[in-house]
Symmetry: C2
Subunit: 217 residues, 2 copies
């Protein structure tokens, strides 16, 4: 059986490998997990012994098929729990991550599958991230960052790149959430700021904000 730490490593490797190509480097995981590189090396060896990653000294790791499956099972649980917390327990989308970080380690297939049924088979979590189904398949749709949306083209917010409380609460204050219609009215070349239409209100956001909002055109 996996230790809690093992599971967090697999998840971290999965996420890093999604956002970059090639093998996953020791330091990138060290940063993500908050551990020293030497500890990461130890874990890489351990995971390699269990055939969850392919590891070559000095060359980083990549997940094996079994490793991907294990990571997706944790991510599935994480996102299902986040959905539950928001939809039934009055959590705000910026409060769920820390708790889901614990709940994702609960070992019970029946629990996971029944939770999924209870939530009526959600496909996306409160941050717009796709939830792997029982077969670990995820429905992903074409999404682009808000700053890539052509001026005056209509889009809908379908997710966020940055999941930090700070950013999510900023969006709350601007009344931007999953499902909010978004449109770029004007792009100010001088400072890269954007004039946007968000739902019924128009407002001004910086490029940094726009780079963390996913929209479906």
């Amino acid at each position: 059986m996996q230790t809690l730490s093992t599971e967090d490593y697999l998840k971290a490797i999965y996420h890093v490998s999604q956002s970059s190509s090639g093998a996953v480097a020791t330091t990138s995981i060290a940063k993500q997990i908050g551990a020293k590189p030497s500890s990461v090396t130890d874990m890489f060896k351990k995971l390699s012994d269990q055939n969850l990653v392919k590891y070559q000294k000095y060359q980083g790791v990549s997940l094996t098929n079994e490793g991907v499956k294990t990571a997706l099972r944790i991510i599935r649980k994480h996102r299902l729990w986040e959905s539950f917390l928001v939809s039934h327990l009055n959590f705000n989308w910026d409060e769920v991550h820390q708790v889901a970080e614990q709940l994702e380690h609960i070992q019970s297939e029946k629990l996971t599958n029944e939770l999924e049924r209870f939530l009526d088979y959600p496909t996306h979590d409160p941050h717009g991230d796709p939830i792997p189904n029982r077969a670990l398949f995820m429905k992903t749709y074409n999404k682009i960052l808000l700053n890539e949306l052509p001026v005056n083209k209509e889009g809908v917010c379908v997710g966020v790149k940055d999941n930090s409380s700070n950013f999510l609460r900023y969006l709350d204050r601007r009344q931007i959430g999953i499902g909010t219609p978004l449109q770029v009215l004007h792009r100010e070349d001088f400072d890269d700021s954007l004039h946007i239409q968000a739902g019924k209100s128009t407002l001004m956001i910086t490029i940094k904000i726009a780079e963390n909002i996913y929209v479906k055109p």
Copy 2:
């Protein structure tokens, strides 16, 4: 912060101290937890350092006020989760214990309190055990064991003493559960077996069964 193991020890000490008087002995906890007495001694020292138990060498432990509170907080979570699993996730009462054993360690006051609200402030878990409320107060009612119920006196099943899957499934097969009306029709002195009325059916049970069913007269 508590380690998972610490929490299980506190819970074990609480339960043992409920079912016996005086200090809690090293071996009794060793049996409950499935550890060696020497390990238990180590933990007793650790808990004592944290002022969660009063410990005197060779004399066992007793929980301090803080220790009782900590134990009750875990028990509160355990029983709330058991209730959730049965009421919303299609778990049977004999399947919930192992999962609740994990869920009880999730650290989030908001989660616990919102779960309680979501379940509409239940006072008892699926086994009839009382759930401590937010102030850690438990509603207990007068209950006796079925074998102490006078012949022909009417009672209602309000709990079970043995929580094992084996026993709970036995009760399922006999259609005895929380709320089932029970009555002792005849007590066979020769082998201490009992003829009982359970709901609409009459059946015969051994003394061992009767000693594990709580009834409210």
